[in-house]
């Protein structure tokens, strides 16, 4: 029976391949017996294809990386990835403080104006060159705008007056106005001298991973940097590929199909879909999701309209719908992880009250409501759903809102940079743990003030806070600024949304940061 023989042979081949595919589950480092894995239905098919690559993972990210210039990186999604490739004189740590990185130590003069950094010995760029004081001075001057006609690439650097290097192992930064918080801005990436705008393609930094390649709208690949100065924090993985998949559902399918090992920022409503097969971690996103209103256009230039809308929307209901109730209402531009500055009571200021909303709308001259549009980056399911819930809620007070889904790139260009929009649902994240990051952008002349908020009292309070050398006074002023944003309803602040980190069960070491950071160096196969 030749057919029988053929089938038997086929069966044998399949059986022979089975252990190989199970071996793939472990990522090829330490094969565990098949029975030891916690789930028989692990995504194995595609991972078995990774055997030749060995110690590598593929991370799914939901947005394209628009501008890779590390010092200019405008979007949180880019900074999150570049965190692994570049380092500043200091570096963010999980609790939100900063630890010395390229500098081994620093000192602040008593008047709060002069920071003196001692450079660490033995720090090398990915091209093998030693980091010198000249590189550092060049990098910091570039941040302050030396190659951008004087406009700082990192906004906090507008406060810098002089950057000097008295000797090869020290760099001194002198500020125009005293600032205790400036040290948090020193996470600004150090790059080789005279890199110029090419840095966006050469991507030479000092981080635990070195850049390999970037294909727009497809992927970014980085590899372990063997010469990393900090042996304790060296990368555990040899290779990391960030795969750009701008659709949440496609991300889930990628996970299930085994092409992705790690996805961060997945809406937590998808938990049931993935929890059986993967390690699922839950956390807040460390950003403020809001219906951001363009304060410069009708009718949102009217404070009464903004307040009416705030009463019209039902924040707890939104959180229930979009995050299964796991998000935290913020009420202002501050998120709970910033515990020193967060004011939970602000979230209670605008309870859901349709009558009050109608009354305010009538006062503002819109008794029958009005029509408006909400522009949303369509790659973010949570923002899309939030917008749909808001549209339903606004209907009840006579406001007809239209949803305009746009691609991420056009959102960044038209909405965030171009300010050509009426309202938008998105999340704003902080670069570091200072309250400054979340608040200074709403000063009337700040270039990141994409909602066009202009309030004299706010500008004054924040200017005082920035200049303050007394931490308690400064905190109080920041809190006052948060209250103003809430009172004026500068935007409809909703929540710090909840998100899932979904990981191949063979991996561990994921570290949550208080800021919007993805630290790949700590992740590895068990």
């Amino acid at each position: 029976m030749p057919r029988f023989v053929k089938r038997a042979l086929l069966l044998l081949v399949v059986l022979a391949m089975l252990p190989a595919s199970l071996y793939g589950c472990t990522g090829g480092t330490e094969p565990t017996p098949p029975g030891a894995s916690n789930s028989g239905s692990q995504p194995s098919a595609a991972q078995s294809g990774e055997l030749p690559d060995g110690n590598s993972v593929t991370v799914g990210i939901a947005q394209d990386l628009s501008n890779l210039d590390p010092q200019l990186a405008a979007t949180a999604g880019v900074r999150e990835v570049l965190f692994n490739i570049f380092e500043g004189l200091v570096k963010a740590s999980p609790d939100g403080s900063v630890t010395p990185a390229v500098a081994s130590d620093y000192e602040l003069s008593p008047d709060g104006k002069t920071y003196t950094f001692t450079l660490r010995e033995g720090v090398t760029f990915h091209n093998g060159n030693q980091v010198t004081a000249e590189d550092v001075v060049y990098s910091l001057e570039r941040c302050a705008g030396s190659e951008n006609e004087g406009t700082p690439l990192v906004s906090a650097f507008s406060n810098v007056s002089v950057i000097t290097s008295p000797d090869p192992s020290h760099v001194v930064v002198t500020l125009a106005e005293p600032s205790l918080e400036f040290i948090y801005s020193m996470t600004a990436p150090i790059i080789p001298k005279d890199s110029g705008p090419d840095i966006a393609s050469t991507m030479v930094g000092t981080g635990p991973f070195c850049f390999v390649s970037y294909a727009p709208q497809d992927s970014l690949v980085m590899e372990k940097y063997d010469g990393y100065w900090n042996a304790e924090k060296a990368a555990r993985l040899d290779k990391v590929t960030f795969k750009i998949i701008t659709d949440t559902n496609a991300l889930v399918i990628g996970l299930k199909g085994g092409t992705l090992d790690l996805v961060i920022h997945l809406p937590n409503t998808l938990e049931n879909e993935v929890k059986d097969q993967f390690t699922v971690l839950q956390d807040t996103m460390k950003l403020v999701q809001a219906l951001y209103l363009n304060n410069a256009v009708e009718p949102f230039n009217n404070e009464l309209v903004r307040q009416a809308m705030y009463y019209a929307i039902d924040v707890p209901a939104i959180i229930e719908f979009v995050c299964d109730g796991a998000g935290v209402a913020t009420g202002t531009s501050m998120y709970p992880a910033q515990s020193r500055y967060f004011l939970p009571e602000l979230a209670e200021k605008y309870p859901h009250d349709v009558e009050k909303a109608k009354e305010l709308l009538a006062q503002a001259g819109y008794p029958d409501g009005f029509e408006m549009s909400i522009t949303v980056p369509s790659n973010y399911t949570q923002h899309m759903e939030t917008a749909q819930v808001i549209i339903e809620q606004l209907k009840k007070v006579g406001i007809t809102a239209e949803l305009i889904p746009v691609e991420w790139e056009s959102w960044v260009n038209d909405v965030y940079r171009g300010r050509d929009y009426q309202s938008t649902v998105c999340g704003i994240a902080a670069d570091d743990m200072t309250a400054r990051e979340m608040l200074v952008r709403y000063m009337s002349d700040n270039r990141k003030n994409f909602i066009g908020f202009a309030d004299e009292e706010y500008d004054q309070v924040l200017a005082q806070a920035l200049a303050s050398l007394d931490e308690e006074e400064q905190t109080a002023l920041y809190k006052r600024a948060e209250e103003i944003l809430n009172e004026r309803a500068a935007s409809l602040w909703i929540q710090d949304a909840c998100e899932l980190v979904v990981m191949n069960p063979a991996l561990d070491g994921f570290t949550f940061y208080c800021t919007y950071v993805l630290d790949m160096s700590a992740i590895g196969y068990k």
């Binding site: 559902n249 409503t269 879909e273 899309m384 889904p405």
Partner: protein, 268 residues
């Protein structure tokens, strides 16, 4: 062929049911298709919600009804645009021939060389999404296929004896085209129409699925499928019902087309 055609009967019944379903959706839905209810999120099919609820607690039956309505309206409008212009262009080209015919047909070939959904996506990326833009974009792209079909038929008839005699009798060209030739082409056109309808339904659904079709706040079968995809394993009914409607709609019309072809003795 005298034996009874089952294609027509089954197709007819199926299409009638689907039309009744969609027509009902235009006038009545059990709930508002956009109304959300937190406790009903991802609820399975039940007496209150026969098709279950989606991730925002919206009634899937209501959304499917409304979505089928909008899909059908768009498909019919696309078909109308494509058919009317295709008929005119095809008839004139087929009847008169000449250089203009050659030019127009090469243009049609050029357009037909691209997949129509892909081309429509490009057009929509430029003029922006929205119901009417979808109709316009898809409709224009449907013209070449109809034009070619009609032209072929006209070529077949324009030198027949009855046309020649009409011409000798001094009948005007327009009358020859629409009164003498056109009725003879119906069998082919009808089956072409059914195929065109199915392509239009699929075209609209795929564009909405890609998120470039109708606005996400309006229910649309394609967009529902896109949203449902993430919940494929936990709430399969969310995918199943909108998908079933699309399939049944296409199947019914497809069967009718097959039946017509068989009844009229047209080779496919």
């Amino acid at each position: 062929m005298k034996h009874k055609s089952w294609y027509l009967t089954i197709g007819g019944i199926l299409t009638a049911c689907m039309l009744a379903f969609t027509a009902a959706g235009l006038f009545w839905t059990p709930y508002s298709p956009t109304a959300m209810s937190a406790p009903d999120r991802n609820a399975g099919p039940s007496a209150a919600h026969p098709f279950g609820c989606d991730q925002l607690g919206r009634d899937i039956l209501s959304r499917t009804l409304e979505g089928a309505g909008s899909t059908l309206t768009i498909a019919l409008a696309v078909l109308a645009v494509g058919f009317v212009f295709g008929l005119l262009i095809g008839a004139l080209c087929g009847y008169y021939g000449g250089a203009a015919d050659a030019l127009v047909m090469r243009l049609c070939d050029a357009i037909a060389a691209f997949p129509s959904v892909l081309l429509a996506l490009v057009v929509l990326a430029v003029i922006g999404p929205g119901k009417y833009n979808v109709i316009g974009a898809l409709g224009v792209l449907f013209i070449p296929s109809f034009a070619r079909l009609v032209r072929g038929e006209f070529l077949k008839y324009r030198d027949r004896d009855f046309v020649r005699s009409a011409r000798l009798m001094g009948v005007s060209d327009l009358r020859i085209i629409f009164v003498h030739i056109l009725p003879n082409t119906w069998p082919t056109l009808l089956s072409g129409l059914t195929i065109g309808f199915n392509n239009a339904v699929l075209g609209e659904a795929s564009m909405s699925y890609l998120g470039i079709g109708v606005n996400p706040t309006e229910p649309s079968l394609g967009y529902m499928l896109k949203e449902a995809q993430g919940f494929l394993f936990t709430t399969p009914w969310y995918t199943a019902f909108p998908a079933a409607i699309v399939i049944l709609l296409i199947l019914g019309v497809g069967l009718i087309g097959e039946g017509v072809r068989e009844r009229m003795g047209v080779a496919s």
